[in-house]
Symmetry: C2
Subunit: 122 residues, 2 copies
């Protein structure tokens, strides 16, 4: 597991998964293909720029397929590839872990920050 090449590949994927919007986009596309504007509307707070960049990166990694219909106005659909769908399982497992432990984590943070402040006031 800790050989150079594999380790870098793992870090790479974790880094993509850790960025602000990727997982949210993938999870939106997990139900059905969506147009650019549908994604934009369904993801609260994402900017046009970041949606474009996120989709481009996912497409580059082979996780998302982009289909242009050259009508006027243009129409662009995005959907998960087979590879993209295989990512769903492990990512959702991690998301479930996060959801299941968020209260515990919040408490740990509160404890830590409180102790931190108390040590300042010595």
């Amino acid at each position: 597991m800790h050989e150079q090449e594999t380790c870098l590949a793992v870090r790479d994927v974790l880094h993509r998964v850790g960025d602000k919007w990727s997982v949210l986009v993938v999870s939106m596309l997990s139900e059905r293909p969506l147009r650019f504007s549908e994604l934009r509307r369904s993801i609260e707070g994402i900017s046009q720029r970041m949606l474009t960049l996120t989709l481009r990166n996912l497409e580059r990694d082979g996780l998302v397929m982009r289909t242009v219909t050259p009508t006027v106005p243009p129409r662009v659909d995005y959907e998960l590839t087979a590879l993209g769908r295989t990512l769903l399982d492990p990512v959702l497992a991690l998301a479930a872990w996060a959801a299941g432990h968020r209260v515990e984590i919040a408490h740990a943070r509160a404890r830590f920050d409180r102790k931190d402040r108390d040590e300042q006031t010595d």
Copy 2:
């Protein structure tokens, strides 16, 4: 799954998991508790600063426990908490996915970049 609070908690955890060293540190601690200097030596390329920050964040989230033995020179041990150990399963699943698909991803990237370049040269 997409209610505000849960969604932010998930993003938060993914962001931690996506940072450069956290998962590596957790995976090192999964075998046995380690001293600061042991971690430093066993993780190729990490700086003292980043090891400290990474451990501090993991401790704050309740994933790692820090134990100081006030000898001279001081000795500080780190180990996974019960919560930290529960994180291992989903993270290793994701790492396994990354390891298992790294070739496929590399090919997707090569294809994408090639196509990209070709379209520039029109």
